[in-house]
């Protein structure tokens, strides 16, 4: 990694500039426009774009429900993940065109650097919201002086790549799009809607505000949550993980992006010879405001003319902090000559020009070895059949190994299911680490709605197949079993048949046979005893869901068996 530096970087593309002059002119023109993205006097353009992407992300998230809106595709922005095309492309040995938004990001990065991180990424936008609006304006959290470890993200990337090569797919635990959608599904949306309803409830108590409260409730119902309050499983850990991630903003601005995000690491690598770089001219008075405020710590404190190419996200905050009237900062093509009279940066060159640390080969190997070990652990750890037999997957899920490889744990399926049958819930630790956050059908929380096929429609990865409705209705998720020790007719010799009533199949998979039984008082009574016709049952679980017996004592329950996968 070491050995190449700012000087070399400037020479490298020089040849390109001579060979393709029109491209060079275009890039120069574009780079000259960059500062204009900041509107005079206010931190405009970039933030506007970032806000638009965040709002679009939230709107698409909210629209992931019944009634279904197929266009724009609800998973469109999830597919901006730059990591997914890498891993899926490698797995399929094909260009993953379905991930075209992510491919566009990857294609633009060599030109613009990590622009994705401060313009597009919804997790980055959430972090900015927290870091700029909620966390105290403490100088120690900002700029190059703040605590962070930029090498970390490369180690994470090395580890997840090594693990993936060895068969454990873990990169999506850290994929920013998956993390953001997971946080929305399990934490922000449920808490947010709960709070909004609370506000409406409070308003109702205020004299004269009843109408307002009604409007709030109606618009919540109409626009945001026509279904009831969602109650996600595995809430507590996910909340700690996700809110904890946002809370790193109290330590360091963009701590996640500087230190942990493997997508950031990948984009940093793609920014090695970025086409547009920051340039400081001789009007700079060395006030070092830019270095102290840069959210990414990309500007070394001891040399404000330098910029770490793999850290700078083109957020343009440095322009805002450069003393008014000076405007010493500009953006120029990567190969533009160093300005007259400016000292060439004194910071260490080499990989440090990409990121301000010395990332040693030894560390990278260690991280990769860690990834391998994790893959080994996942391979040898007992996959407890008592647990896996309960992991009922969404209808149309790929066979388990392929499913675990594809599913990025974005929980889009869980989100859409919450406005349908509501059975899908994220798996927790009980399912084992490699299955963390995968969708599983929890038939007491909900059931699979017979006429619904929406989880397959919103899954961005194809981990759940896009089944036409008629095919989905024949897709077996599992198999209902009666527990005669609990089931009321068997255990209490009295009729019930709630399960049979709800079985959605045109020819019910629960049938009954009527027998006369002896009662303790010597009398006899006819009782209808239910049983399952295995060839018909698709394991939708509405029988288990509606069984009046509580919790684990249900008279009928679905197990993972005879699945079509």
């Amino acid at each position: 990694m070491a050995g190449s530096g700012e000087g070399e970087a400037r020479q490298g593309p020089n040849g390109l500039a001579e060979r393709v002059p029109w491209l060079a002119r275009l890039v120069t023109r574009l780079a000259g426009l960059v500062p204009w993205l900041r509107w005079p006097g206010m931190p405009g353009g970039r933030r506007l774009v970032q806000a638009v992407f965040l709002v679009a992300f939230v709107v698409l998230f909210v629209r992931m429900r019944y009634p279904f809106h197929p266009s724009p595709a609800p998973d469109l922005l999830l597919r901006t993940s730059p990591l997914a095309p890498l891993f899926f492309g490698a797995a399929d040995r094909a260009v993953p065109w379905a991930w075209w938004p992510g491919l566009v990001v990857l294609a633009l990065t060599p030109l613009l650097g990590r622009f994705f991180c401060s313009w597009v990424c919804p997790l980055g936008a959430m972090l900015d919201l927290v870091g700029e609006r909620l966390a105290p304006a403490d100088q120690a959290r900002q700029g190059a002086q703040a605590r962070s470890w930029p090498a970390g993200k490369f180690l994470v990337l090395a580890a997840v790549v090594a693990a993936a090569v060895a068969g454990l797919h873990a990169w999506f635990f850290f994929d920013p799009l998956a993390v953001a959608n997971r946080g929305m599904t399990v934490v922000l949306f449920p808490l947010g809607t709960w709070a909004a309803q609370g506000v409406a409830g409070l308003l109702e108590l205020v004299p004269g505000a009843g109408g307002l409260a009604g409007t709030l409730r109606r618009s919540l119902r109409g626009w945001v949550m026509p279904e009831g309050q969602t109650e996600p499983a595995f809430f507590w850990f996910t909340a700690v993980f996700f809110l904890g991630l946002l809370a790193t903003e109290w330590v360091t601005r963009r701590f996640w992006c500087r230190t942990l995000c493997p997508a950031g690491a990948l984009l940093a690598l793609c920014s090695r010879f970025r086409g547009v770089r920051r340039q400081v001219d001789s009007s700079c008075v060395q006030c070092r405001q830019c270095s102290r405020r840069c959210p990414m710590g990309a500007i070394p404190d001891d040399d404000v003319t330098a910029t770490a190419r793999g850290e700078c996200t083109l957020c343009l905050d440095c322009l805002d902090h450069c003393p008014v009237g000076l405007r010493a900062i500009g953006f120029v093509p990567g190969w533009a000559p160093w300005p007259e009279g400016m000292p060439v940066p004194t910071v260490p060159l080499g990989f440090a020009a990409v990121t301000p640390v010395d990332l040693t080969r030894r560390r990278l190997l260690q991280a990769a070895a860690g990834g391998l070990l994790a893959a080994g652990g996942a391979r040898v750890a007992l996959d407890d059949p008592r647990v896996s037999s309960q992991l009922i997957r969404p209808p149309g899920a790929l066979p388990e190994p392929a499913f675990l490889e594809r599913c990025i744990r974005c929980l889009a399926c869980v989100r859409v299911c919450s406005s349908n049958g509501g059975c899908l819930q994220p798996a927790g630790f009980e399912a084992g680490f490699p299955r963390l956050w995968t969708p599983r059908a929890h038939m007491k929380a909900g059931y699979c709605e017979y006429n619904c096929n929406l989880c397959g429609q919103v899954c961005p990865t194809g981990a759940i197949k896009r089944l036409p409705e008629a095919e989905k209705q024949k897709t077996v998720m599992g198999q209902a079993c009666f527990n005669k020790n609990h089931c009321i007719p068997y255990a209490k010799l009295t009729d019930c048949l709630v399960c049979e009533e709800h079985c959605p199949l045109p020819e019910k998979a629960i049938q009954t046979h009527e027998r006369e039984v002896d009662l303790p008082d010597g009398s006899r009574r006819k009782v209808k005893f239910p049983y399952v016709v295995p060839e018909r049952c698709i394991g939708c679980g509405i029988c288990e869901h509606k069984c009046p017996l509580p919790g684990t004592a249900t008279g009928v329950f679905v197990v993972r068996a005879y699945e079509n996968r």
């Binding site: 108590l205 009831g228 017979y450 009729d495 048949l497 709630v498 959605p504 199949l505």
Partner: protein, 317 residues
């Protein structure tokens, strides 16, 4: 949240709960029933010459309803000017009308129109569904049809159930009933006649389960007693049984077109039990085949004596 804000909120909620139970006359569990009894019981019905039950065959849903209402003397006999009316169809299942899992949407819309024409202040339509309510309301066609006819169609809000005491309850002494139902001046019960595994056939009485809260599965045992315990307390003003399409098997959810029989029939009566009894021959059944209906008869939950029921039958053609 700050502690003070939290305390305020809890206090507020408690106060609200307390206030709700103090508002006089806000909730009267038996109002709908009283209205029904006062309207058309015994001699009153006899003197006006209106039949106790009307059964109309051989027509489309709207025509069937119009014919039956004409026999009964018009909707004005049941709904008065300024009434808050609840029309309670069966919207239980995520099924299109052709599969006969839910009440016919055209019929529901026409009932709504009739109520409004009779001067109803507002007509509310709702049902506590078995499948996802959004899907049931949309795919049954009832949401669009009823709203188009001017009704206020809303989904059940689980926080709006109110526990009522069941004075004649044998197996249960109290149950949760939907507040809008309890507060209505008049209730028009519009079930669809269909097969049901446990009950054999579901009709007017069982349709009332759609306004019952709590764990409805528990009503299934003992079904005959619990259903009547609760239904007996909340009988509607008028029951209109949709027998246009009958679901003959695999009910109540249905789904198999082969199980649907086009009967083109409608039954109307101010007495739910009488209406239900009149519908049995459509399925080739007798009251003894339906223990819950037998139980209702035994408990005298009817307004008209089943032994000498005055059923007016007519056929449109």
């Amino acid at each position: 949240m700050k502690r003070r804000a939290f305390l305020k909120m809890t206090g507020g909620a408690l106060a609200a709960a307390g206030l709700g139970s103090l508002v006089p006359g806000a909730i009267s569990p038996t109002r709908a029933q009283d209205a029904a009894t006062g309207q058309a019981s015994g001699p009153a019905a006899a003197t006006t010459g209106a039949p106790e039950v009307v059964l109309v065959e051989n027509g489309e849903p709207v025509a069937l309803l119009q014919a039956a209402l004409k026999e009964m003397g018009g909707m004005g006999k049941f709904v008065s000017r300024g009434d808050v009316v609840v029309v309670k169809p069966n919207i239980g299942w995520d099924r299109p009308p052709e599969l006969a899992g839910n009440t016919n949407p055209d019929l529901v819309a026409e009932v709504v129109k009739e109520c409004l024409n009779a001067g109803a202040k507002v007509v509310k339509v709702f049902d506590r569904t078995c499948n996802n309510p959004l899907r049931c309301y949309a795919n049954s066609g009832i949401e669009a049809a009823a709203a188009g006819a001017g009704a206020e169609v809303s989904q059940i809000d689980e926080s709006r159930f109110k526990t009522i005491g069941l004075k004649n309850g044998e197996a249960v002494k109290s149950w949760d009933i939907y507040q809008d139902y309890l507060e209505a001046d008049k209730v028009i019960n519009v079930p669809i006649a269909k097969h049901h595994g446990l009950a054999r056939v579901t009709l007017g009485l069982k349709n009332l389960m759609g306004v019952m809260g709590g764990q409805r599965g528990q009503i299934h045992n003992p079904f005959d007693k619990k259903l009547n315990d609760i239904a007996g307390e909340i009988l509607p003003t008028l029951t209109i049984i949709d027998a246009y399409r009958l679901l003959m098997n695999n009910g109540p959810s249905g789904g198999n077109p082969a199980d649907v029989k086009l009967a083109k029939t409608l039954i109307m009566s101010p007495c739910t039990v009488s209406a239900d009894l009149t519908a049995l021959p459509l399925f080739g059944l007798q009251v003894g085949d339906l223990p819950y209906l037998q139980e209702a008869v035994n408990r005298k939950m009817f307004k008209f004596d089943p032994a000498r029921l005055n059923v007016k039958k007519l056929s449109l053609s």
